[in-house]
Symmetry: C2
């Protein structure tokens, strides 16, 4: 069922067809959630791991005075609440942007599966690492890039991530974000997002109309954005591990004694 997830994980760790089948059987699709509704409130302790099947969601923080900051995007194939397996401090809210269809996996069952297949464990691990690399990248982007660079950077990231799950082709992708969403992501006002997009359009770097994004020359946009997509393709360095018994058997594939394909 979680097609996009399987596709993405496969890129990390090369899943076998058995692995893929295990994942498919693990996930049970649930219904649609409407746009702009909260999935997971701050402080929740999720029991299941959720995977986005269709639609976009995000994690965000909000102040009493209304200011809002989007912390992360959750797109098809992304895992919402790894906290159900590797407990996490959830001091942010997760909400949908568009309508969203999700799949649920019991944390326990996923754990069993990871235990059976080192490749699956490794792939999930690398996906978590990619997520935290994205977080660092956002920190940097907000810190030292200009508005124009930030928007460009975000679009590069989104394109790269969507490509990894087969939702973008060479030309472009579907982008269901409002300019307000973009503003709350890169820390600028809606009006200025608009002007910045105009600017990028005028420079021939992007086309964006009716939620359809096109990037005629990705390399050019990448340069404007100072974007280097390496952080989205994590692959631990080869390592001649010689680790102790039980943790070894668990983490070895994660530690990547074999180079990933």
């Amino acid at each position: 069922m979680p097609y996009h997830l399987i596709r993405k994980l496969g890129r990390y760790a090369g899943l076998s067809t058995v692995d893929e089948e295990m994942l498919r059987q693990l996930a049970r699709a649930s219904g649609w959630v409407g746009p702009r509704s909260d999935l997971l409130r701050e402080g929740a302790a999720p029991r299941d791991v959720c995977v986005i099947l269709e639609g976009w969601a995000c994690a965000y923080k909000q102040l009493e005075d209304g200011r809002r900051q989007i912390i992360a995007y959750l797109m098809p194939g992304d895992v919402c609440s790894m906290a159900a397996v590797f407990p996490d401090v959830i001091n942010y809210t997760t909400g949908t942007l568009t309508s969203v269809r999700m799949a649920q996996m019991s944390g326990r069952a996923l754990l069993t599966t990871m235990d059976r297949s080192p490749r699956i464990l490794r792939a999930f691990w690398l996906d978590m690492l990619a997520a935290s690399a994205i977080q660092r990248e956002w920190t940097a982007s907000l810190g030292f890039l200009t508005a124009r660079e930030r928007i460009a950077h975000l679009l590069c990231e989104i394109m790269t991530r969507l490509r990894a799950v087969g939702l973008a082709d060479a030309e472009g992708c579907f982008l269901p974000l409002t300019q307000e969403d973009l503003g709350e992501t890169v820390g600028i006002s809606t009006v200025h997002v608009n002007r910045t997009l105009q600017d990028l359009r005028a420079s021939g770097l992007i086309t964006l109309k009716r939620q359809q994004l096109a990037i005629p020359d990705f390399a050019a946009l990448q340069e404007v954005a100072r974007f280097d997509g390496a952080y989205l393709r994590p692959a631990p360095t080869a390592r001649d591990a010689d680790h102790p018994a039980s943790l070894r058997s668990i983490l070895d594939p994660v530690l990547g004694s074999a180079v990933c394909p």
Copy 2:
């Protein structure tokens, strides 16, 4: 040897004296590294886990045109390169701010120790979670706080973290950062950092002279900063775990079937 680390970890998971002794024997203090020198370049694959014993370091990203963004602070008791145990994508540089004395632990030995003491594993895990919560907090801070709020927020965070390792008392702490460092952290220019600090001083919120920070009324600063320190004290919710065999035995303490003291 890693006194501050042990103190911090103890707050997470309640280490036994045996645990503490294991950690002490694991870490071997190494010499001093001068201020403003790089410890770990982008792309490195560290073999040892480093712990800061004294001094401050940071992780940062830098562009060719000189712009620099500090991604994280590493203070006494902080772990630099967990990548040696849980492999990570290192797409940033780690460098010292002041002179720094570190301790090294072989990744392998630490793994063995974690394997022997679930409390140690759990404590390290929670420390990693706290680090990623800080990262999210920085993203939000850079995104929607004003310069004044960001500086205040950063000072609150630093005070709280230093208190956890016994390096700050009720009044204040040592703060070895230049105004340039602060600027590169909260994304504003050095000149404006200066003016913002003046402003905070004028409001009676802080005193900062000769690297000595004092916060007469923490609650007041906290309010200005919109700071809520909960994210720095991670404690997974209690959970009636019933997990599969081997992963269970490893991750159970992490999963926190027992409430932490």
